[in-house]
């Protein structure tokens, strides 16, 4: 069956993501433990939200006894980039695709899963996403739970090495198209430079990572679209 082999491809590409998630969510678990979140609550939050920065914000707001409104607003801001990603993904959906797939795979549009999804040519196949979800969701949730239960048991050097796995995956997604398309290469260079600027300039560095990502994504992508609009025939 095609669905089964596509599912297995998703599992295969999801494994490095799950490993990276495990390391990151372990440290997320440590943060959750510090504000009194139980392992069950932490795992539930991770399973449902599948969001790193968003969950850090959620846990710290719970620790600060924030209101529901504040939680909703901060969740909206820290996760707004997923809105852009889903807009982009909407253009890769086969019009023939069954409706319920949108509600299922859409629940887990993360930075990394988005990355491997756009890297596949042609229409989006939800079974690929389900395969990736089957390994990444447990990885993220179990990592959070273990972080809460075991605290700082994992050696710091191992956590440090594992933490770049996520970035390695990002790099593997944007470098191949940048090699083929000079405009994308320019976008990547501009993104690096702008992100570094936001990191170093005191007033700009106070802007949260989630907001910075949205701001730079919109500005740089809009500039690229205005200066280098793509022709109809160029689309895959």
């Amino acid at each position: 069956m095609k669905a089964k082999s596509v599912f297995l491809e998703g599992v295969r590409d999801g494994i490095p993501i799950a490993l990276g998630y495990f390391a990151v969510s372990f440290s997320l678990g440590i943060a959750a433990r510090n504000v009194g979140i139980t392992a069950v609550q932490g795992m539930l939050a991770s399973f449902l939200c599948m969001a790193s920065a968003g969950q850090y914000a959620l846990f710290s707001l719970i620790g600060a006894a924030a209101s529901l409104g504040e939680i909703a607003l901060v969740t909206l801001i820290t996760n707004a980039r997923y809105f852009l990603m889903s807009c982009a993904l909407s253009q890769k959906i086969d019009p023939e695709m069954k409706n319920y797939h949108r509600f299922l795979f859409g629940a887990v549009v993360t930075d990394e899963i988005f990355g491997i999804t756009v890297a596949r040519p042609g229409y989006l196949d939800p079974w690929y996403n389900y395969g990736a979800m089957a390994v990444t969701m447990p990885g993220w949730a179990i990592g959070t739970g273990l972080g809460i239960l075991m605290g700082t048991l994992l050696p710091a050097r191992l956590v440090s090495a594992l933490s770049v796995a996520l970035f390695g995956m990002f790099i593997a997604v944007f470098i191949p198209p940048a090699k083929k398309d000079k405009v994308i290469l320019g976008c990547v260079a501009a993104s690096f430079a702008a992100a570094l600027l936001f990191d170093l300039v005191p007033q700009l560095s106070e802007i949260s990572a989630g907001t910075r990502t949205i701001l730079l994504t919109v500005v740089i992508s809009a500039a690229a679209a205005a200066l280098f609009p793509r022709g109809e025939a160029e689309d895959e």
Binding site: G106, S160, A225
Partner: protein, 100 residues
């Protein structure tokens, strides 16, 4: 208030953010600017999130920087996702072993 209510509130917002565009945008977008914009978005987002975050993620910033360069070189040469991720981790692990 129970932590569970907070968790479900966060889930409701994040689910809406992810699923609304997928369910509401049903047609191919014709506008050339928006099409081009959405085409560039994924690469810009990932690039913005990669650097300088990768340098900040490791215990030794130098190891993170080396992982970035090694990752770019590996991906440029055509290495697959898992390989690139593995190379980045190995570079950090080995460099931090030497540097510390």
């Amino acid at each position: 208030m129970s932590n569970y209510i907070y968790i479900f509130a966060a889930f409701a917002v994040i689910y809406a953010v992810r699923v609304l565009p997928l369910t509401l945008i049903r047609k191919p977008i014709k506008n050339r600017f928006i099409r081009s914009f959405l085409y560039y978005v994924p690469y810009v987002t990932l690039a913005v999130m990669t650097f300088p975050a990768i340098v900040r993620a490791t215990n030794q910033p130098l190891a993170g920087a080396a992982a970035l360069i090694a990752g770019i070189a590996a991906a440029w040469k055509g290495c697959k996702l898992l390989t690139v991720a593995g190379i980045c981790c190995a570079v950090v692990f080995i460099l931090e072993l030497i540097l510390s």
